[in-house]
Amino acid sequence: MGDWLEWRERCALALCSAGAQSALMGFAAMHFSRLTRHYATRTNAPDQPPQLSGRETWHLFETHLAVRHNREGKRYKDWLFARLAGTADDELDVVAGGAALLMRDVVREHLRNEHSAQGVVSLSAPLAETGSASLTVEDLLPGTIDTADEVAKHEFEHLALGHAGEFFRDMDHREKVAVLAKSLGLSLADPAVEEVAGCRKSVLNTSYRGALERLAADLRRQYEEDDMQSVRILVLMTFEAVASLAGAWGVSERGCARLLSMAEPR
C-alpha cells in the first residue's frame, strides 16, 4: 500500500523511490501481460502477443488516464483512493483492484491501436463482433430507399407486411414475447418478461436472436437472385413489421398487459 501512497503523493513515478517504482511497474506489466494473453487466448491468436516492459506499460497507464497535465487532470488517482470508502476489504486490494480495472481500459486502447494498424477489413465480411456468424456491417447499415422513390418504398412495405404476417403466425409464444418486450424497450432480463415468456433471459435471448436470424435467412433464400442491398432493406422492414404485429398481439394477449403497462409513463 505504501508504494501506491507514495505515487499519489509524489505525483509522478519518476519521483518515487526505486522500490516503489519497481513495484508499480511490475504491477502494470503483470496486468498488461495477463490481459493481452487473455485476449489472445479468447481470439485463438496463433502467436503470443508482444509484451511491453514495466516502464512502457506504466507510461501507457498514466497517459491513458490523465485528462490534463495538472492536478485536476489526474484526479483518477483520487478516485482510486476514494474507492476505499464504504468497503470492508483490504485497502491494498481495493486500490490495486481499481488500478487493475483501469488497466483493462489501457489494454483495450492498446489492442484497438494494434488492430487499426492491421489495415482495412471488408464491410461485407462476417463480424465476430456481432455474435453472429453471418452479420456484416452492410447488414447493420444497409442504407435506405431514396425518399423520392415513393412507389418502390410502398412496394417494399407491402412485401414486408406480407412476409411479417406469414412469419409471425409461425412464431412460438416465447419468440413473440421477446419481440414484444424488445419493441417496448424492456430488457429480456426483466423478471416480468421472464415470467410472461415462461423461461429465463438466456433462453429468451436465444429465442429472440434465433427468430430474427431465421427470418433474415428465409428472406435471403427467397430473393437470392436479387441485389443484396435491396434484400437487406427488406429484411429490416420486415423486422419492423414483425415488431408492430407483436405489439398488436400483446394488446389482446392477457398475460402481456403487464408488459404493456411497464412501457407506460411512471
Binding site: R108, Q222, Q229
Partner: protein, 241 residues
C-alpha cells in the same frame, strides 16, 4: 423465384460504415477483456463520512454550466470505472448532465466526438443526459471546462436528439452511425450504459431513454430524453418547462 421491385437505394457513406466497424472492433475487444467484475466491490457500510474525508470534505467546487467533472466513487456505478460528466445546462429541475463514453468512436447519432485527445473525454453521450440536482452533481471533482464552442455543439446535438432541430453540418460529421438493426451489438451497449446512469439517478429521478428502435416504430421526436420526465413510449411527451 421471387423478385424484388427495383428501387433507388441511398447507401451509407463509407466513412460512416468504417466508423461503425471501428466501434464494433473496440466493443469486441472490451467484451473479450471483461472477466467477472474484478475488484469493483460493493459498498458494505455507509460511505459518506469516510468518502468525504477521502475526497476533501465539503470543499467540492460549485456546479456550473460547462464544467467537466469526475464523479466520486460512491456507488457501484461510479466505482467500476471513473465516470466523467459534462454539465450542459441549468434548468429549474436541476442540471442537465451528460456522461462521457469509454470508447474512441461515437456509437450512435446521439454520441458526439468531442475532438479532445484525452481518452476519457473523447466521446460525449448526449442521448444518456439526465437532469440531476446540484447536490448530486456536486459529489464530484472539477476536472476541466468545455469551451464555448464545445458547449454550443453539445447543446445543438441535445436539441437534435430531442427532435427539435436539424443537426448542424459540422456536428453531423462527428456523431455515430444510425442504429437500425435489432441484432446490432450497440443495442446491448446502450442498455448497459443506460443502466449505469439509472443507478446514479436512482431514487425518484427520471430513468433513461429507450434508444429509438426500431426507428420507424419510435421516431426520435416522440421519445422522452433521458433528461426529461418519462413520457409515453411512442406517445405524448410531458411538456418541458
Amino acid at each position: 423465384m421471387k423478385k424484388l421491385p427495383r428501387a433507388r437505394i441511398v447507401r451509407p457513406a463509407v466513412v460512416v460504415s468504417r466508423r461503425l466497424l471501428r466501434w464494433l472492433r473496440e466493443w469486441h475487444i472490451d467484451r473479450l477483456l471483461t472477466e467477472e467484475r474484478e475488484g469493483v466491490g460493493r459498498a458494505v457500510r455507509p460511505v459518506e463520512p469516510k468518502l468525504l474525508s477521502l475526497v476533501g470534505g465539503e470543499k467540492a467546487a460549485p456546479v456550473r454550466v460547462g464544467q467537466v467533472r469526475l464523479l466520486f466513487p460512491a456507488s457501484e456505478f461510479s466505482r467500476a470505472r471513473p465516470r466523467y460528466v459534462a454539465v450542459l445546462a441549468r434548468r429549474k429541475e436541476g442540471h442537465l448532465v451528460a456522461p462521457f463514453g469509454r470508447f474512441a468512436e461515437p456509437a450512435v447519432p446521439g454520441e458526439w466526438l468531442t475532438g479532445r485527445g484525452a481518452a476519457p473525454l473523447r466521446v460525449l453521450c448526449i442521448w444518456n443526459a439526465r437532469l440531476m440536482p446540484a447536490t448530486s452533481v456536486r459529489r464530484s471533482w472539477l476536472i476541466d471546462n468545455l469551451s464555448r464552442c464545445e458547449l454550443d455543439q453539445a447543446l445543438a446535438l441535445h436539441l437534435h436528439v430531442s427532435g427539435r432541430t436539424a443537426l448542424p453540418e459540422r456536428t453531423a460529421e462527428r456523431v455515430g452511425p444510425p442504429l437500425v438493426h435489432p441484432l446490432d451489438p450497440r443495442v446491448e451497449y446502450l442498455d448497459e450504459e443506460r443502466e449505469w446512469m439509472d443507478q446514479w439517478t436512482a431514487m425518484g429521478q427520471p430513468r433513461g431513454m429507450v434508444y429509438p428502435f426500431p426507428p420507424s416504430a419510435a421516431v426520435p421526436q416522440d421519445l422522452p430524453l433521458a433528461a426529461e420526465k418519462r413520457g409515453k413510449y411512442r406517445g405524448k411527451r410531458e411538456p418541458r418547462s
